[in-house]
Symmetry: C2
């Protein structure tokens, strides 16, 4: 029977929390099993006891991270609001969420670039974001004359680029714009609405 349930559950979770922290800030290649163990306050052998190998532990962390990102993207893709509403909601929600998980975008982008095969597995998951509905919505609003003609893929990439980049390029942007941590935060905060307005200004018919 399972016993010491509270205890083992706790250890397994502690490991995942520690692994998240280390993998997300250092990446697969930079992460050290010993550091994860120290971080979780346990013996290194426990990592292998619960998750066989570094690779599998990494995948547990990565899949969890991606499972946080995917719903954010689906939010804009699969609801029935107008394009304008979608963009406003997405920009606000996504930025708010990422300010709480600032390592997430970088981690995912970095690891997807490290191993291109990796995303193939993700595509098979149910819940992997699908653009079909968004494309239809865009086409409808173009036909109705609400927005200017634009390729839906391009629009989608523009939306996520404007929202994600401040988290990917933070060190670069901070240096280029001479901002300290505090003013950078204000800067990103402001983008919660600025970015939506910027996009809508561009595509909306007057």
């Amino acid at each position: 029977m399972q016993m010491a349930k509270s205890k083992d559950k706790n250890t397994e979770e502690q490991i995942l929390i520690a692994a998240k922290s280390v993998f997300q800030s250092k990446g697969m290649n930079g992460a050290r099993m010993q550091e994860i163990a120290d971080n979780a306050g346990i013996n290194k052998a426990m990592l292998h006891y619960y998750y066989r190998s570094k690779q599998l532990l990494f995948e547990a962390v990565f899949n969890h991270a991606f499972s946080l990102l995917a719903p954010q993207l689906n939010a804009i893709l699969n609801d029935d609001a107008s394009i304008e509403e979608k963009i406003k909601n997405f920009t606000l929600n996504y930025t708010t969420f990422m300010m709480k998980h600032p390592y997430l975008p970088n981690f995912i982008i970095q690891e997807l670039n490290r191993n291109e095969d990796f995303i193939e597995k993700l595509k098979e998951n149910t819940g992997f974001p699908n653009l079909e509905k968004f494309k239809i919505n865009v086409q409808e609003e173009i036909n109705q004359g609400l927005i200017k003609p634009i390729d839906a893929d391009q629009l989608f990439v523009n939306i996520i680029a404007l929202n994600i980049f401040p988290f990917l390029g933070k060190p670069l942007i901070k240096a280029l714009t001479n901002k300290d941590e505090k003013s950078y935060k204000t800067f990103v905060e402001s983008r919660k609405s600025d970015v939506a307005n910027f996009i809508i200004n561009s595509i909306k018919n007057t």
Copy 2:
């Protein structure tokens, strides 16, 4: 005196070429000195003969990479064309350039995130991009009523976000938009003008 100049020069350069290739595709943590040596077709000891340590070899590669990026940014910041012209030129030039060096943006962003202190050294270099002139230009055009009011920092970030992100998020975008290598290339090619129009549409007064 210096001798065997052609030969040593050649080896040193071969090392840098190989190091560029390996560091840019695998990052500092993922790169292996042995792989660089193999790639350059020389003995591993040569790497240390010419560049003392992995760290110094990495910095040589990184500084060179950044010295390719910086002029791209300066191009938009320090000329006297109108904002509209600047954006058009930058978008075309930057995308054209990066299609030839697709690993560059990712490499720089990734390594700046790995070591935040790193950018401090870069800031000291002459030629580190400076936004002052761009800010003035933007303010002038706003005052003249040519473009809508917008914070110059936000505009700048939007411009580079839209241009850089397709190279950072390539695996993700490819998967989300169901594009293969060829159609992704077409997609990015199209952005050479699409992105400029998108931005200008947003900020230009009619």
